[in-house]
């Protein structure tokens, strides 16, 4: 009788331990999902600034329609990638799409800024300066939010790969989450061009 009870007690404790692991995985997963919301907010800010930027530039760079349209197209692509990723943060496919879209947007913006060097009137424009300043500051915020998200994803991934957590993770659908990294495209910042 005693033996049976002790066994039962051990089983109960084991069950509680496993449930505890499950709960901690859920907590870590929630953490990275919430952390993605931060990125979402800043990316949205970035995306919202761009139409304004293009409008301002259009007035001065009428001949560069190709580039301007490319910017808008890249921006729209990035918006839909962002919305898809917001529905499934950490999903490898969604993250990859978002990274590519943001990278492309960054590249095209870089081209735009490089071009704008040749238009001193545009550079002198107050609105343009303000928008570029806000874009830069938003870049910093995105970087910071990305760092927090990646930290959270790392904690989650490590937790789910540890033993014995790995035994719970598989059957209960805790998939590995993907980090969010932007490859710095070569021309993110307006290069300093001097005509000496």
């Amino acid at each position: 009788m005693i033996g049976a009870l002790v066994t039962l007690a051990v089983i109960v404790l084991l069950l509680l331990f496993l449930v505890g692991i499950y709960n901690s995985l859920v907590t870590l997963r929630n953490r990275y999902k919430n952390a993605f919301a931060q990125i979402d907010v800043q990316l949205k800010r970035r995306h919202d600034l761009i139409p304004n930027l293009v409008e301002t530039a259009k007035g001065y760079m009428a001949h560069e329609r190709g580039t301007l349209e490319a910017v808008i197209a890249a921006r729209n692509q990035a918006v839909s990638a962002r919305e898809a990723a917001a529905k499934a943060p950490g999903d490898p496919g969604a993250m990859r799409d978002l990274m590519q879209a943001e990278g492309a947007l960054g590249g095209v913006l870089g081209r735009l800024f490089a071009l704008s060097e040749s238009y001193p009137d545009l550079k002198a424009n107050q609105t343009m300066a303000q928008l570029m300043e806000e874009l830069t500051s938003t870049e910093n915020k995105v970087a910071f939010a990305r760092q927090a998200f990646n930290d959270a994803v790392m904690s989650y991934n490590i937790a789910r790969e540890k033993f014995p957590n790995v035994l719970i993770a598989g059957p209960f659908g805790f998939h590995a989450a993907a980090l969010f990294e932007i490859e710095e495209p070569a021309q993110r910042e307006a290069p300093k061009v001097s005509f000496s």
Partner: protein
């Protein structure tokens, strides 16, 4: 009843609860034993009972041990789960944290109301969670201390209440936060869960017994097992029923008090009465559809479940009784609330600021049986120490108005900065910089050397905007930045913390005010990032804390000395400490001015840590002593006011902002 009496009462209630729970467990153990004995009689193990009598040790001990173990394991598990504090409860109910920078108008409104209330109360701004899928009108506050409290609202609340009504609901929740009700609530959840586990086990045994087909070997063996399971299930169910009765008894009374507090905070009974009336008239009422709602039903603003059993297990008093206590003219007809969820409410003219919306001539509403502290107590009590002690944990519409004005007048961009994690860090650095230019340049140097040079630039930029800020805005801005800072990742927080401590270090020449401010900031953030929890109350007498008290009072006394006073101000400081000592005479303490070297800023940390573990009544006296020291020289600068508030915060006593005499 002031804040300290509330805290005492909450702790007494906890003890009472534990006693009741113990009785319930004893009853359950007896019942389980009876059921097991009955079961055993039907098997060959029955000879144990036949031989050993009803208290056969071979049966008694395992059953006793087993039942107690199960209940302890169940309660322990749940309590452990809830040790994560408010956010755990909010997520349990399906809540989503709101981004402090949210642009959605409904969310923005809720966030603004919560911010104003927190600043007015002098507590950190709590995280706000939204139960988006819930159409009923309800709200909750959960957490262990004001520092890790969260406030939750349903989608219905965010969309369908006017600003005044929202403010009334938020004020009600804040009174729970300030009165120490939340910890008791969480404990109730944990404790009742243990009893629930018994019925779960019974359920499983019932299923197991039902499935096995007895081949007639034992006389009805399978049926006997099933019956045992049924018995356990019923016992567990009865236990849970009694648990709910306990919950209901404790929480119903508190709801009336919280309603009264809400009226006191806003001086606008129409707000909270309006919210209650809307609940009455709303199709979904205040019901929460989530399956976990029952566990947390006592945390909500209004009844989250459908009809209770004979009204006995209702966690909240009946709606019309609540409304009548606030608005005696209520005639039991609820307004028809028909807005389909998601549609904006019709543009009813609402007061832009809550306090201005109160009808003329309605002043303070005396509620039967509940004395109205605030105006009477504060005016009657002549001395400043008594006034401050009475104001702890309460607030006034004047404070709310002050908070609203402060937020509206903030220099451009500061509020957005406070809401966003990157900028919030720089903002807090800027706020923690010392006034002395030499110390300040040293601090900025330290920042520049840190791992992120961009932060130093941002700090300098924000510093310019802070030039015109009044001193009383520092603590509110720090409180405002907390929700954004809670969103740092643990690694980011670690580097942030190092930088904050570096600022406070600056060769130890930082002023007392900056030191207490940085301490306040970290104290509110550390628990969120996994710092070990502080224990409840460890000191019931101040006798063992003499050194700490002397240290605190000495630092306060010296901080108030004007530079250039004769003999370095030692005599003045000693007199100030003596004034503080008078407040502590009853506690049998005789604090004296201690040597400068005996008590440095670093020692203040340790001193306050220990003093924070004193019983509520002792803290009241401590606070009065601190106030006496500061007002001794009859000149309380605004910085000294902030110092008092920061020190009080270190003792877990939220003090509302000090309003200038003209502001009332």
């Amino acid at each position: 009843m002031n804040f300290f009496e509330h805290q005492d009462r909450a702790r007494r209630n906890t003890r009472r609860l534990v006693a009741l729970f113990g009785l319930a467990v004893a009853a359950i153990v007896v019942a389980v034993y009876a059921a097991v004995v009955a079961f055993l009689m039907t098997t060959e193990a029955g000879h144990y009972v036949a031989e050993g009598g009803l208290a056969a040790p071979e049966v008694l001990v395992p059953v006793l041990a087993g039942t107690l173990f199960v209940i302890a394991a169940g309660s322990g598990y749940k309590t452990l789960q809830l040790s994560g504090g408010g956010p755990v409860v909010a997520r349990l109910l399906g809540g989503r944290p709101l981004d402090p920078n949210s642009g959605d108008p409904d969310e923005r409104r809720v966030l603004n109301v919560v911010e104003e209330m927190a600043i007015a109360a002098g507590t950190p701004v709590p995280d706000v969670y939204l139960l988006a899928g819930e159409h009923g009108i309800n709200a909750f506050a959960a957490g262990r201390t004001p520092a890790d409290a969260v406030v939750g609202v349903t989608g219905g609340t965010a969309r369908q209440l006017s600003r005044d009504e929202l403010q009334g609901v938020v004020a009600h929740e804040f009174s729970h936060i300030l009165n120490g009700d939340m910890r008791l609530n969480l404990r109730l959840i944990g404790v009742i869960h243990g009893i629930l586990v018994i019925s779960l086990i019974g359920y499983f045994i019932m299923r197991a017994g039902g499935r096995s087909r007895p081949s007639g070997r034992k006389k009805g063996g399978g049926a006997a097992i099933a019956l045992l399971g049924l018995a356990l299930y019923v016992i567990g169910w009865i236990g849970v029923f009694f648990g709910r009765l306990i919950k209901a008894g404790v929480s119903r009374q508190r709801e009336f008090l919280a309603d009264a507090a809400a009226v006191q905070f806003t001086r606008n009974p129409l707000g909270i009465a309006g919210a209650l009336k809307k609940i009455g008239g709303h199709g979904a009422g205040s019901r929460i559809g989530h399956r976990r709602a029952e566990e947390a039903s006592h945390l909500f603003f209004s009844n989250a479940l459908k009809k209770s059993f004979l009204g006995l297990t209702a966690t909240h008093p009946p709606l019309d009784e609540r409304i009548r206590r606030i608005d005696p003219s209520f005639d039991s007809t609820f307004p028809v609330v028909e807005y389909p969820p998601g549609e904006r409410r019709a543009a009813a003219p609402e007061g832009a600021l809550g306090p201005e919306a109160r009808p003329a001539g309605r002043g303070a509403i005396p509620l039967p049986g509940i004395p109205f502290p605030g105006a009477a107590a504060l005016a009657g009590a002549a001395s400043a120490p008594a006034r401050v002690a009475e104001s702890v944990g309460t607030l006034d519409p004047a404070h709310v108005a002050w908070a609203t004005t402060l937020l509206a007048e903030l220099p451009a961009g500061l509020r957005e900065a406070a809401h966003e994690p990157t900028a919030a860090r720089a903002l807090t650095f800027a706020l923690l910089l010392d006034a002395d230019p030499e110390v300040r340049s040293r601090q900025l140097e330290a920042l520049g050397r840190s791992s992120e040079p961009a932060v130093a630039t941002e700090t300098r930029r924000l510093l310019l905007r802070l030039e015109s800020l009044r001193p009383e805005a520092r603590i509110p801005l720090l409180d405002l930045a907390l929700p954004a800072l809670r969103r740092l990742s643990p690694e980011q927080y670690r580097s942030y913390r190092t930088m904050v401590r570096a600022l406070a270090d600056a060769d130890g020449r930082v002023s007392l005010l900056e030191y207490t401010l940085h301490r306040m900031l970290l104290r509110h953030l550390d628990p969120h990032f996994g710092a070990p929890r502080r224990k409840g109350v460890q000191f019931y007498s101040l006798k063992g804390l003499g050194q700490e008290v002397s240290c605190l009072l000495s630092l306060l006394a010296r901080a108030g000395v004007q530079p250039g006073t004769a003999d370095g101000g030692e005599e003045v400081a000693a007199a100030a400490v003596a004034a503080g000592a008078r407040e502590l005479a009853q506690a049998g303490l005789e604090p004296r001015l201690v040597e400068r070297e005996a008590c440095r800023l670093r020692d203040l940390d340790g001193a306050l840590e220990r003093l924070a573990l004193a019983a509520p009544r002792l803290k009241e006296r401590l606070l009065r002593a601190a106030v006496a020291v500061v007002v001794h020289d009859r000149e309380v600068t605004r910085e000294e006011g902030e110092l008092l508030r920061a020190v009080a915060d270190g003792l877990d006593c939220p003090v509302p902002p000090f309003l200038r005499a003209a502001e009332g």
